[in-house]
């Protein structure tokens, strides 16, 4: 049981909890909270893909010898991806909450069951 597997289990558990909440909750704000949890889980799994045990952070200051850098640092590419994903995530959450506010101003309800205009 190494650390990569532990973090993968944590991330997958968060994804499942978030999906369960999104599918069963009625309140729209709570659905968005579930999506936020799913985001955290996916980001954890992505960072864990680049983690190598016993190595150090990809910042080449005096603690890392420059000529042997590729044998001493963890993978920097997933970190760069996740870095941008977090900022995008919060903007997308804000946009979805804006939709919720507008819907609420229209129908004065937060429950997802009251919006059945396109239901067949």
């Amino acid at each position: 049981m190494n650390i990569t597997n532990i973090v993968h289990i944590i991330g997958f558990a968060l994804i499942l909890i978030g999906f369960w909440g999104m599918l069963t909750q009625k309140n729209m704000i709570k659905i968005i909270l579930g999506l936020a949890i799913v985001e955290v889980g996916v980001q954890l799994v992505m960072v864990a893909f680049g983690f190598i045990e016993g190595r150090t952070a990809p910042i080449l200051d005096s603690a890392v010898e420059l000529s042997k850098a590729s044998e001493l640092i963890v993978d920097p590419v997933p970190q760069a991806l996740v870095l941008t994903a977090i900022v995008i995530g919060v903007a997308v959450n804000a946009l979805m909450l804006t939709f919720v506010i507008r819907l609420y101003q229209k129908k004065r309800s937060l429950s997802i069951n009251d919006y059945k205009d396109l239901k067949w």
């Binding site: 049981m1 650390i3 532990i6 973090v7 289990i9 944590i10 558990a13 968060l14 909890i17 978030g18 369960w20 909440g21 909750q25 309140n27 704000i29 709570k30 968005i32 909270l33 579930g34 936020a36 949890i37 955290v40 980001q43 954890l44 960072v47 864990a48 680049g50 983690f51 190595r55 150090t56 952070a57 990809p58 910042i59 963890v74 970190q79 760069a80 996740v82 870095l83 977090i86 900022v87 919060v90 959450n93 804000a94 909450l97 804006t98 919720v100 506010i101 609420y104 004065r108 309800s109 937060l110």
Partner: protein
Amino acid sequence: MELQQGIFILMGLAMIIAAGLAMHVKDLISSIIAVGVVSLFASLLYLLMQAPDVAMTEAAIGAGLSTLIFLYALHKTKDVEEEND
């Protein structure tokens, strides 16, 4: 090495408990706080996985910004929610 794995498992359990709490409790502020706790521990895990850039982003955004955005949305949709309580 044992200690490090123990810290990972402890933080993972705390995250999973907080996520379950966020989906389980009735009142919305508690669940927003629980999501804040999830992102706090996520930032600590990033730090333990040697990703200080990601940890800093998660700390700067998950600590204040995301909580406040949810609270504003809750504030704007409040009147019905208090009737239902």
